[in-house]
């Protein structure tokens, strides 16, 4: 190596003065070179050049100077070489620390400057990071936006004192239609195109099995099972024989509610839904009720909320009406109580728990897809059932 071929300095004599001068020159040389060291590689080169085991400059000089040395000079010579070696090791450590710390070294307070080597050793291996690189995360799973909305709605009614009730998706005609005051062959059934199970023709109409078209059959099941007072909230999946488009799906979800007690009034229905809509969409939301028709409620109402995007001023999402239609509701029709009583009397002929002269009630139902689509600005209902990660990841 070229750097190894540097000349060995001449030693004039072995007297103290000459030795002193010669070692001082070597120390200067070491200091001058170590001050120039900027990188770890350079420090390592320097280390090798001076302290290399065979061709190291310190060894070469030592061999040269010891060769001619009188016996009595060997000891002082050894002491001076040891000191020089210590100095070299120290210079290397400091230079290495400076190289590791880089600009940090200059910024350190003076008391730390003195401990530069300790400081650098503590930081060894703690190389600086590129903080602009992306962070890593163990991605948690994403709750489905539809079920999240459904759970939120259910929670609102839990807080109002409603308990969750569930029912089967395969229902009999009795629970899905007849007991809810949809007589057989009635045009009201046309509004809910129904998926029928095969092999039902031989049965009496009320026993035929079908996919429930709404969560309302759970009203009937709950009332048959339990005397008033009733406060239930019913989340669930429903099916209709509808062609799929951007806003319709043959499979969708509803949340139903039922409240039956003495002295339940239409104004209680209004107050309950007004409160629930404010809880779901914010306290500034207004509700508006207007007459509608459902066979199982009388009076029946549709409920609109003031548009949550434009606060009622009119925008694209509310079709410039300022209102968004959100749910259907009404007072439980006495005919429904009559169906329930008929069923309960099969178990107890004296049952009179649902005598419409003694109790009243209200029911309501809403489509979860529609609400979730409004909440999140989703334009295609099909995304909910695709399992598409690109869709779901937006709700992480």
């Amino acid at each position: 190596m070229a750097i190894m071929n540097q000349s060995i300095p001449e030693l004039e004599s072995y007297n103290e003065a000459d030795l002193e001068r010669a070692f001082a020159a070597l120390q200067d040389e070491v200091r001058r070179e170590s001050n120039e060291l900027r990188s770890i590689e350079a420090v390592e080169q320097f280390h090798l050049r001076w302290l290399g085991r065979k061709q190291g400059r310190l060894n070469l000089i030592g061999e040269a100077w010891r060769r001619m040395a009188p016996a009595e000079s060997m000891k002082p010579l050894g002491i001076r070489f040891n000191e020089l070696k210590k100095m070299l090791i120290s210079e290397i450590e400091v230079a290495k620390a400076k190289a590791i710390l880089g600009p940090i070294a200059e910024g350190l307070p003076s008391e730390e400057q003195a401990n530069l080597v300790t400081f650098a050793k503590r930081r060894a291996g703690l190389s600086p990071i590129d903080i602009t690189l992306p962070g890593t995360v163990r991605a948690p799973g994403i709750p489905h936006p539809l079920l999240k909305t459904m759970n939120e709605i259910v929670a609102v009614f839990h807080h109002l004192g409603y308990s969750t009730a569930l029912g089967p998706q395969v229902e009999s005609d009795f629970y899905n239609f007849e007991a809810l005051n949809f007589p057989p062959n009635h045009p009201a059934r046309d509004t809910q195109d129904t998926l029928l199970l095969a092999g039902q023709q031989a049965k009496p109409s009320r026993d035929r099995l079908l996919m429930r078209t709404h969560t309302s059959p759970v009203q009937i099941r709950s009332m048959i099972a339990q005397a008033p007072p009733i406060r239930i909230v019913v989340p669930g999946k429903v099916h209709r024989n509808d062609a799929a488009d951007a806003t319709h799906s043959p499979v969708f979800h509803q949340v139903e509610g039922l409240c039956v007690d003495t002295n339940i009034t239409f104004s209680d229905l209004k107050g309950t839904l007004d409160h629930a809509m404010k809880a779901l969409f914010g306290s500034s939301v207004k509700t508006r009720f207007f007459p509608s028709f459902f066979p199982f409620t009388e009076p029946s109402a549709d409920v609109q909320i003031s548009c949550i995007f434009c606060s009622g001023a009119g925008c694209r999402r509310c079709k410039h009406s300022g209102w968004i239609e959100l749910l259907g509701c009404g007072m439980v029709d006495p005919a429904v109580f009559a169906s329930v009583t008929e069923a309960r009397r099969k178990l107890d002929p004296a049952d009179d728990a649902y005598n419409p002269e003694k109790i009243t009630g209200f029911a309501f139902g809403m489509g979860v897809e529609r609400i979730a689509m409004i909440q999140h600005g989703i334009s295609e209902i099909g995304h909910f059932y695709s399992g598409d990660m690109r869709f779901l990841e937006q709700f992480a």
Binding site: G141, H144, G199, R231, K237, N263, F289, F290, P299, L392
Partner: protein, 721 residues
């Protein structure tokens, strides 16, 4: 249905509000105006008003016309409703009145039949109001006779029909069709009738399907000189049955199905006749009006019903206008509303000279009003729903659903493990149904088919969540999304047409190879991830109701067989107390090929019904030892045939209580890297020893190590140095 504001206003001349306010006021009373379109101005600069797009609920057939909606407006604004003018020109006398007969078997189905003979009429284009309103409605006029029926239908709502009188043989008989009888209809189609189709016939043939559609042969043509105008009342169910059977949904059937106005027949008949006669001709004889008294008794002549003010308050509650002890819904207001809607009210009971109960005679056009509650709704509707107060019923304590906690625990755990929630179709194709139906040994579970499936691909109710999960994974892969972790909690269906069982099930789907671990190669890591998820879910539950703090995983074993839709050798069944509860593994190659999936997908299916029968585990804390743990690693080479289960069992059989943990840390199978030779694998095993009472001694540790090495050696293991 479209409504002209100008036409409406012709019936209620005094409406002070503009069309938009009128539309709003109607909508808030349940007569929903969905759209309001400005119709501009006529040639003489007069406003044409607006066209209202209506959405009338199915119970309000009486409001599916201009006069019915005008009555609502008159009620809202408390204005008089103009009567309909039904006076006809003087009739020509006739020696023999036209014969109309309702056959005995048809009497319950045709409650009323009115007929008017018109002679010497001229078929001409419509003029006057008919032409004007049709132009605004964008409706093409045909001829005065045909337009008259349409105009009256839209004007006051009762369907009518006009026959060419000269095509009628003898007279009219309303009867049931003969099975197989044929009739060509106005739409040109020829229909074969059933024995319960009600027809209007003459003495030789059927002329029309009652309430559905007229016949071709007796229709009005340019040559028609004499006309028979029909306005009748037909039974809703009978019309609906015939309309559905023949796939005909007509304006007439739509109204008859929902209950027409029994007393509207003579009015509608006269209005049609009057319009036709504007172009010439004269009526012959009086209106023929055949009434079936039993039908009249259950429609137009229904007995009055009682309406008490206290019931109104009991159902409706407080209004914003109530005074203390005094409801805003007074007897006067109730009388005003219901009278305007066509009811006749008489006081049935009074208190301090104030009526408390009315006896209410119902209008013939409101068959939807039958009971007191129906009248209460009318009062609420006209008063305005938004004028009622917002009150809250008392709350009841909430009872948690029995499965809520378990479901929530499972869902939360799956989300935490990185699986996203998904919802797939409830249906399956025949082939998927057969391939994915899971059977247990005793009874093969039946597939449930639909009578009217949405498509051929959705003929069955899903017997498994797996096909839906595969479809969702495929959806992602087909869109270049190569990594997906999904779960679905949903119902699966089995049983028979008699009884269907819905069971909660869980599916997991994973695609996009997770990285290799120290135990599993990259190609196996996904299957072991699913195994880990299954174990993690089981760990949420207790082994049994009597062992609430014992994890169900302690009763879990794994068998190498799985349903055929999973790849043999790369799938497994998890058994709880020896009964299958889950299966998992790689999708079978034939299934993957059939679906053209570009990379392997891994699935798991878990029987939530069985899982939810277990209580949630209730952790009992143990004391944490304050003495040091000692780790000892053992490195052995085993033949591939020696499974981990055998090694773990053998070590546990040593029954060293201080051995608190036994972990396979790393497995090397790579012969090339020199870690293990072919057919063998190297295992790094870690044992952790700890005592709760004392510090462990070197001599006992050495003894246990010796025992362990001997045990592993006995299994065929070779210690590695």
């Amino acid at each position: 249905m479209n409504i002209l504001s100008a036409w409406l206003r012709s019936y209620v001349p005094g409406i002070a509000v503009d069309d938009r306010q009128l539309a709003e006021d109607l909508t808030l009373r349940g007569i929903a105006v969905e759209g309001v379109h400005d119709l501009g101005t006529s040639a003489d600069g007069k406003s044409n008003g607006h066209l209202f797009e209506m959405d009338i609920t199915t119970n309000r057939v009486d409001a599916m016309n201009h006069y019915g909606i005008a009555r609502e407006a008159a009620t809202i604004y408390n204005l008089p409703l103009a009567p309909l003018d039904t006076t006809l020109p003087a009739a020509q006398p006739t020696a023999q009145p036209f014969s109309v007969e309702i056959a005995p078997e048809a009497q319950s189905l045709c409650g009323r039949f009115t007929a008017q003979v018109l002679r010497g009429i001229t078929i001409a284009p419509s003029s006057g109001q008919v032409a004007e309103f049709f132009a605004l409605l964008g409706q093409k006029p045909i001829s005065n006779a045909v337009d008259a029926s349409n105009f009256v239908l839209q004007g006051m709502g009762h369907p009518t029909h006009t026959f060419d009188l000269d095509k009628i043989d003898g007279g009219i008989i309303i009867r049931l069709a003969h099975k197989g009888e044929r009739l060509r209809l106005l739409d040109g189609t020829e229909r074969t009738l059933e024995a319960d189709d009600l027809v209007i016939a003459d003495h030789t043939k059927a002329l029309s399907i009652a309430g559905v559609m007229g016949g071709w042969d007796s229709m009005i043509t340019a040559e028609t000189k004499n006309i028979l105008v029909e306005a009748a009342w037909f039974d809703p169910a009978s019309v609906r049955r015939s309309a559905r059977r023949h796939g005909l949904h007509t304006d007439a059937s739509h109204r008859f199905e929902r209950g027409a106005d029994f007393n509207g027949c003579p009015t509608a008949n006269a209005l049609v006749a009057k319009l036709i006669l504007q172009s010439g001709g004269a009526p012959e004889g009086k209106l023929i009006d055949v009434v079936v008294p039993s039908v009249a008794a259950r429609t137009a002549l229904r007995p009055p019903i009682a309406l008490s003010l206290s019931q109104i308050q009991r159902h409706l509650g407080a209004t914003l206008d109530d005074q203390p002890n005094h409801s805003a819904l007074t007897a006067d207001l109730v009388r005003q509303y219901l009278t305007a809607l066509g009811c006749t009210l008489t006081e049935a009971a009074t208190n301090n000279q104030q009526p408390t109960t009315f006896s209410v005679q119902l209008p013939s056009w409101r068959l939807d009003l039958e009971r007191e509650i129906d009248l209460i709704e009318e009062v609420a509707r006209v008063y305005g729903y938004n004028r009622f107060a917002n009150t809250l019923p008392t709350a009841l304590p909430v009872i948690a659903h029995p499965l809520a906690a378990a479901e929530s625990a499972v869902r939360t755990r799956l989300l935490a493990l990185g699986y996203s929630e998904a919802i797939s179709s409830s249906f399956a194709s025949d082939s998927d149904g057969t391939a994915f139906v899971t059977t247990n040994q005793q009874t093969p579970r039946g597939l449930i088919a639909l009578e009217n499936p949405l498509s051929d691909e959705a003929r069955l109710l899903r017997p498994s969540l797996a096909p839906g999960m595969i479809a969702m994974l495929a959806h992602n892969l087909n869109r270049d999304v190569r990594e997906a972790r999904l779960f679905e909690q949903g119902s699966i269906f089995s049983g028979s047409a008699e009884e269907v069982t819905e069971s909660p099930s869980l599916s997991l789907g994973l695609t996009g190879d997770p990285p290799a671990t120290r135990l599993h190669s990259a190609k196996d890591a996904a299957a072991f991830e699913l195994k880990g998820v299954v174990e993690s879910l089981l760990s949420l539950f207790a082994a049994s109701p009597d062992e609430l703090s014992t994890s169900a995983t302690q009763r879990l074993t794994f068998a190498a067989d799985a349903p055929a839709w999973l790849e043999p050798g790369r799938s497994a069944t998890a058994l709880l107390n020896g009964v299958p509860i889950a299966c998992f593994g790689e999708l079978a190659a034939n299934q993957r090929e059939a679906r053209k999936l570009r990379q392997p997908v891994y699935l798991a299916q878990l029987d939530l019904d069985a899982l939810y029968r277990l209580p949630l585990r209730r952790a009992t804390a143990r004391e944490i030892s304050r003495f040091q743990t000692v780790e000892r690693d053992f490195s052995f080479t085993f033949a591939d045939a020696v499974q981990w289960r055998a090694i773990a069992d053998a070590i546990h059989a040593l029954a060293i209580p201080e051995l608190t943990r036994l972990t396979p840390v790393e497995i090397f199978r790579d012969a090339k890297a020199g870690s293990a030779s072919a057919g063998k694998y190297a295992l790094l095993l870690r044992c952790v020893f700890q005592s709760a009472q004392r510090t462990l001694r070197e001599d006992e540790l050495a003894e246990w190590s010796t025992k362990l090495i001997a045990t592993l050696t006995a299994l065929g293991g070779t210690i590695r140095t």
